[in-house]
């Protein structure tokens, strides 16, 4: 953008404060927005970004402070009022109804009526308007398509279309790219560019600092509920953002990884694994002490492979050996018995009991091991000691392991709870699917350290990630998947971001396009 005089702001917030149960989580937050501005908001989990946006979006009331739109006071009591004021909030966990169609999702807050005074929906107008809105975000699906049939990236575009439909003047994105492929991310950024040209202001929250720098005009940094820095893009760098976020300099993103010179025995061997429509002829081996990465675009079959290996989904042919012995029939129970652990990509749905305490969550997968006496009673003391040992090893930050519920933890700590749950079983093979999705820089670093320690203790670790930097930073070897096949393999010495990406994007033929 050129250096012309900035248009006047239409939105401003001053002195926003918020406390939960007597703990102040937001101190004196303020900022302003002008049409077409893209404002980046960064900070670790729990730094107050979401609280700020929830106040703006009418999800939470503010304790003190003042917001204005076009000079008049703005104080939303619920999301509907926020929407009426032209504020659209695209949450990290998308707010779409999978059982309804795309068109119904766009208009769920208020359908156009056939006749004034009568409640009947004007289906024809809904369809026509939906087609318009979908065209505006370049999404080529029929309005009647059920949302459950769309990919994550497509669902996000539906959310944006919804914001456009509500005539939003401010669109808030909370971690929009965590579940998108590289290509979908590029498409999202194009759309954001289009929105700003229409004079819509954007608030962009992300842990991917490079994206924030690339996309935003101005960047605000939050730490512990305080605004600790704010500057135009030209005066910001990724290093400066990190320094402001954590309050100290981080020398590097990844802990040093010194792979053992002598790798151990193979702990996981896969040969000729195939399942129609999912994966084909997968073969690799993972050795004790090794960290093996699997890269690929969304929908390349990485998570599907992990689910098959753990026996959640069926496979038609192939051989899997864990710890040297063949597993004739893959099932989660058989895999766990052989010492395999699996951290799923969706910790909310699959990995964690939200209403249970940290200790109960950590203990869950190991209960039989602590109930081997005559009555099968659980040995509470021994279990408690072990849980405490694991919890401190993964450094879960919480007031009380037995009382704090999982749902009250930050994303990073939730992830550590799930990792701790599997660590308690002392796995020989640990598969982690997107272990750092949606968690902040500090927590990521700790997850990397846990993985290193796990490998050093002699386990084989398999990491699936969409962030290539993450894999090159922490793995000894990387497999690249596309269309359900392994397309390339890179040893640590040959790691090259571009080559990996190129291998991931091959389509159809065996030759690069």
């Amino acid at each position: 953008m050129s250096a012309q005089a900035a248009p006047a702001p239409f939105f401003s917030a001053h002195g926003l404060c918020k406390s939960f149960f007597g703990v102040q989580v937001l101190h004196d937050m303020g900022f302003s927005l002008h049409p077409g501005q893209v404002l980046g908001l960064v900070g670790e989990n729990g730094s107050g970004k979401s609280t700020t946006m929830n106040i703006l979006g009418g999800v939470l009331p503010m304790d003190a402070g003042r917001m204005t739109i076009d000079g008049t006071e703005y104080r939303p009591r619920n999301p509907r009022e926020a929407e009426a004021h032209g504020i659209a909030f695209i949450h990290q966990e998308l707010n779409l109804f999978r059982n309804l169609s795309v068109a119904e999702n766009l208009f769920i807050a208020g359908f156009p009526k056939k006749l004034r005074g009568l409640p009947f929906i004007d289906r024809a107008r809904v369809r026509a308007r939906t087609q318009e809105l979908l065209a505006a975000v370049d999404l080529d699906v029929a309005p009647a398509t059920l949302v459950s049939r769309l990919s994550q990236g497509e669902r996000q575009l539906v959310e944006i279309a919804k914001a456009l439909g509500a005539n939003a003047r401010i669109v808030i994105f909370d971690e929009p790219t965590t579940s998108l492929t590289t290509r979908e991310t590029d498409r999202l950024f194009d759309i954001i560019g289009r929105l700003r040209r229409q004079g819509i202001a954007i608030i962009y929250i992300s842990h991917i600092l490079g994206d924030v720098l690339r996309l935003c005009d101005d960047i605000l940094v939050l730490r512990d509920g305080h605004l600790v820095g704010g500057a135009p893009k030209s005066q910001m760098t990724v290093e400066r953002m990190i320094t402001l976020m954590v309050g100290r300099t981080i020398e590097q993103m990844f802990p040093p990884r010194d792979p053992p010179i002598e790798l151990g025995e193979p702990v996981l061997e896969v040969r000729g694994l195939s399942q129609r429509g999912m994966v084909k002829d997968i073969g690799f081996s993972l050795r004790a002490g090794e960290v093996l990465g699997i890269s690929g675009l969304m929908g390349a079959g990485r998570s599907e492979l992990a689910r098959i290996l753990f026996g959640i989904d069926p496979c038609e042919s192939g051989e899997v050996r864990i710890g040297g012995s063949a597993v004739p029939k893959l099932s989660p129970a058989a895999c766990m018995a052989q010492g395999m652990a699996f951290l799923t990509e969706d910790r909310r749905a699959e990995g964690l009991m939200m209403e249970a305490s940290i200790a109960d969550n950590v203990a869950l997968a190991s209960l039989p091991r602590f109930g081997r006496n005559w009555a099968r009673f659980i040995e509470r003391t021994r279990l408690g000691d072990e849980v405490a040992r694991v919890s401190s090893a993964v450094r879960i930050v919480a007031p009380d392991q037995r009382r704090t519920l999982a749902k009250n933890l930050s994303g990073g700590n939730q992830q550590k709870v799930v990792i701790g749950k599997w660590l308690l079983r002392e796995p020989r093979v640990f598969m982690l699917d997107e272990p750092t999705r949606g968690i902040d820089v500090g927590a990521k670093y700790e997850v990397y350290k846990i993985i290193n320690q796990l490998a050093a203790d002699g386990a084989g670790v398999l990491v699936i990630s969409s962030e290539i930097e993450e894999l090159t930073g922490m793995c000894d070897r990387i497999l690249v998947m596309a269309q359900g096949e392994i397309r390339a393999e890179f040893a640590r010495a040959e790691f090259d971001r571009e080559a990996i990406l190129r291998a991931a994007m091959w389509h159809g033929s065996k030759e690069p396009a």
Binding site: V59, N78, P79, R80, E83, F89, H91, N95, L96, F97, R98, N99, L100, E104, I108, A109, G110, F111, K113, P119, F120, I121, R123, R149, S151, R276, G277, M278, V279, K280, G299, A300, G301, E304, Q483, G484, E485
Partner: protein, 324 residues
């Protein structure tokens, strides 16, 4: 149509197929079964359960439950018989329906304002309702005027009154669910109440309305049943929640909310009645009725719950395009 599509078709239409199989089976066993007269009879007998089950469909769609529908029927019937007996039907029936609405509104108020779980709320109002009605009626049978029985036996344009009522409630419910904002928002609330709130939907209003609708349907269903028997003993409406919920679930509405509809419910109600009627026609031992009906309900519900996971697997997006 390949094997996969056949499987999907069977799974999506289990109640219909089960119905056809039963028709064929009973038809072979009794030549009186497959007649138009008998079928009209089945629908008339299914009408009151069907109407209440339509109300129940709304409740299940948002992931709630209403166990008090049978008690609601009894309260409405005894108040009508004891206090509104001498009013003309066009006055007393709307009043009775209003009473049903009020009963439902109490459920809705407790669930949305006092935030008591629907299961406990409606279990309590079940006992409170029956208790009040028993107290008023002095535990005696409540009788009605002959006009009510006449209404029950009446036909308009050749269609019996019970079927008119059934059709009218169904049409209103169907249009509400598919053609109005309220109806579509109901599915959204059933799928994810938190997300619905964030999307600007007034979740409380919808939950409250749903229990009111269930109350109105229970009252109408009670009146239809009353017009067929013209007396309300102390067992009137007793345990009606079971066939009502069974009919709804049999019709494909999920107990967990967000999936289903009233067309299936009508089907479920007729299906249950068909089984009962078929058993009578084939001179089966009356003691076997509950057993046979519960087996059929179990099969349908079992297929329904395994259907969800099988459909999910069959409809999963494929990553690879396999060449034939």
């Amino acid at each position: 149509m390949n094997g996969r599509n056949t499987k999907l078709f069977v799974l999506r239409n289990t109640p219909v197929l089960l119905f056809l199989v039963l028709l064929a089976a009973f038809g072979l066993m009794s030549d009186r079964f497959l007649t138009i007269g008998n079928f009209v009879n089945i629908v008339i007998q299914a009408a009151h359960i069907g109407i209440i089950a339509i109300g129940m469909t709304f409740v299940l769609l948002i992931g709630g439950i209403d166990l008090s529908v049978g008690a609601n029927m009894y309260v409405v019937a005894s108040v009508l018989g004891l206090f509104l007996k001498d009013l003309p039907l066009p006055v007393s029936f709307p009043l009775a329906t209003l009473l049903g609405l009020a009963f439902g509104a109490v459920n809705g108020w407790i669930v949305t304002r006092l935030r008591v779980a629907a299961f406990i709320t409606t279990l309590s109002t079940l006992f409170v309702g029956r208790g009040i009605a028993l107290y008023f009626s002095g535990n005696k049978m409540v009788g009605f005027t002959p006009q009510i029985l006449a209404l029950g036996r009446a036909s308009y344009f050749g269609v019996p009154s019970a079927i008119w009522a059934f059709a009218a409630v169904f049409a209103a419910a169907y249009v509400t669910l598919s053609q109005t904002t309220f109806g579509r928002q109901l599915y959204a609330v059933g799928a994810d109440p938190d997300a619905a709130g964030k999307a600007g939907i007034d979740v409380r209003r919808i939950v409250f309305s749903v229990y009111c609708i269930a109350g109105v349907c229970a009252a109408i269903g009670g009146l239809v049943s009353l017009s067929q028997v013209a007396v309300a003993s102390s067992t009137f409406g007793l345990q009606k929640e079971f066939p009502v919920i069974a009919a709804t679930v049999l019709g494909g509405t999920s107990l967990f909310g967000g999936r289903g509809g009233v067309l299936g419910t009508v089907f479920g109600a007729v299906l249950i009645q068909t089984v009962e009627n078929g058993l009578v026609m084939t001179n089966a031992d009356p003691y076997l009725y509950p057993l046979v009906i519960s087996v059929i309900i179990f099969i349908a519900v079992f297929v329904d719950s395994s259907r969800t996971s099988i459909l999910e697997r069959l409809e999963r997006r494929q990553i690879r395009v396999e060449r034939a």
